[in-house]
């Protein structure tokens, strides 16, 4: 493990940690590993990195210790640390690693500055600070398929503050035409970014691949968000009707399961 290069990346929500890491994941000649400690088995970032860079080993939290103990020589490892993790935790303190903080350029003093070996200027957003610590609310949605205009409306309301103050939102959502989209919002940056994921269309029943929503903010009305999410999802019969139509439009496309972690 000592010969591996481990980089811990921390920073405020929306500063651009995943974006910064992504630039190093294009090199297919190396053994690349990506971990998101504290985010459980599935997280939007973990899954999206896996889809975007299939040659990268994305490691679920429950396998982290085993994988870190048996890393191949010269492996490049990136650990993305959520804002909610304690930077002084013993586990992080004992790792032989490079510490990088991706922070808004306007932030000059923070515990990330004290912790990091290197500070990278990220998105020019207002840092909301950690006092009080923002809430992190996650909702796995695997199998749910959304009515697209309902999802648009929900995202406008969510990011506009209808259900609490949202600083950061990211998610993977399934559409009735079988496509899946990554959705990204950072308070202070313009608009909501929609990126189609490079996956086969899922046109046979409910998608058996990860989708979900992660929201960081304050005073989040979690129950209302959950109800509104569900009200935006398609019922079985409606989904079947859509899928039947798209199958007729795309008769040559096959559904296949492409990724699992």
């Amino acid at each position: 493990m000592a010969s591996s290069n481990i980089t811990l990346v921390a920073g405020s929500p929306g500063a651009g940690k995943t974006t910064w890491i992504s630039q190093f994941l294009t090199d297919q000649s190396q053994d690349l590993f990506y971990l998101c400690p504290g985010m459980g088995r599935d997280s939007v970032d973990l899954v999206r990195i896996g889809y975007r860079f299939p040659w990268v080993s994305v490691i679920p939290e429950n396998q982290a210790q085993t994988v870190l103990a048996g890393l191949p020589r010269q492996a490049q490892v990136y650990l993305e640390l959520g804002f909610h993790l304690d930077l002084a935790s013993p586990l992080l303190a004992t790792l032989p690693c490079q510490r990088v903080a991706v922070l808004p350029p306007s932030l000059n003093q923070s515990e990330w500055h004290d912790w990091a070996d290197e500070v990278i200027p990220g998105n020019d957003i207002q840092d909301a600070g950690r006092d009080p610590l923002p809430e992190l609310w996650r909702s796995p949605l695997t199998g749910q398929v959304f009515d697209p205009p309902s999802l648009d409306e929900l995202l406008i309301e969510l990011t506009g503050g209808a259900y609490g103050k949202v600083m950061r939102l990211k998610g993977i959502f399934e559409m009735p035409d079988g496509r899946a989209f990554h959705i990204d919002f950072v308070q202070g940056l313009p608009g909501i970014e929609y990126t189609e994921l490079n996956l086969p269309r899922w046109l046979q029943g409910r998608p058996n691949r990860f989708s979900g929503l992660e929201v960081v903010g304050h005073h989040l009305e979690q129950e209302t968000i959950s109800k509104t999410l569900l009200a935006s999802c398609l019922a079985d019969d409606v989904l079947a009707q859509y899928q039947h139509q798209y199958q007729r439009l795309h008769p040559d496309e096959e559904t296949k399961e492409v990724f699992s972690i």
Binding site: D147, P149, S150, E153, E157, G160, A162, A231, S232
Partner: protein, 270 residues
């Protein structure tokens, strides 16, 4: 004569009061109302009682029709599943609180009203549910005005006010009948106008202010009016009445309670 034309009040009594005060200050001689007195907002009965007490000539809007006929529109009415769910909640709430005499009054409202060369409708002369958007094809827009046998067609329903001039319309038609030679016909249509008066109680122009229109029948001058009002009171009433809180959030931002239908030119087939 100075006319004030209002529309789409949607149970927003505060907004209606503010607009009536503004109309009074503008010294309008006559008020016309293009319907949607009820639906979404917290004071459907009070709004109707106010309109009736002032004896304002009023057309029937799509929400008024739904309260009379029940929800029997085709899928066109809502752009999304979410909007439909919320619309149904609003309809059920309105339906449960509406007074019998108010329902009877809504049933008596006509589809169109005429005053000389002016016609007043909620959506279009074809349907309360049809949206006459400013981007609508010019020929189709002209057809709607001509079908109403009017020079100026006043409408609402979109909740965004605009004035559209339809000028210098020339139509050429070739009529071919069996065993007869083709016969060309030319039509020239003088200036026609569509005036959308916006919405009193449920604006969609990005600000919470109520909108309506003043029209001078002598000069044909159209004046779009935007009237601030205490929308926070309406928002509070929405919450107190148990209507979905998201309605209050959207109203305060001029976002309307639900978005416009996906295919706005579609004419509902009941």
């Amino acid at each position: 004569m100075k006319l004030a034309v209002i529309s789409c009040i949607h149970g927003n009594y505060e907004a209606l009061n503010a607009v009536l005060s503004d109309i009074d200050a503008q010294k309008a001689d006559q008020i016309y109302c293009l319907g949607d007195l009820v639906g979404y907002g917290p004071y459907p009965n009070a709004v109707v009682e106010m309109i009736r007490s002032l004896d304002i000539p009023t057309c029937q809007g799509c929400w008024d029709e739904d309260i009379v006929e029940g929800l029997n529109a085709c899928e066109c009415s809502y752009p999304s599943q979410l909007a439909e769910t919320r619309g149904r909640l609003a309809h059920e709430w309105t339906n449960s609180v509406i007074h019998p005499e108010v329902r009877e009054y809504l049933a008596t409202l006509p589809m169109t009203l005429k005053l000389d060369n002016l016609c007043f409708v909620h959506g279009s002369p074809s349907s309360q549910h049809e949206y006459l958007l400013p981007s609508m094809d010019g020929f189709a827009a002209l057809e709607r005005v001509l079908s109403a046998d009017a020079d100026v067609l006043f409408c609402g329903h979109t909740h965004v006010p605009y004035v559209r001039d339809l000028e210098d319309a020339a139509l050429s038609v070739n009529v071919q009948q069996p065993d007869q030679t083709e016969s060309p016909k030319q039509f020239q249509v003088a200036l026609r106008q569509i005036v959308n008066v916006g919405s009193v109680g449920e604006p969609r122009h990005g600000r919470p202010n109520a909108t309506y229109v003043l029209y001078d029948t002598d000069t044909a001058q159209v004046t779009l009016r935007e009237v601030p009002y205490d929308y926070a009171k309406t928002c509070l009433a929405i919450l107190e009445q148990g209507l979905p809180p998201i309605f209050a959030w959207r109203l305060a931002r001029g976002m309307e309670f639900a978005e416009r239908a996906d295919d706005p030119t579609h004419v509902c087939e009941r």
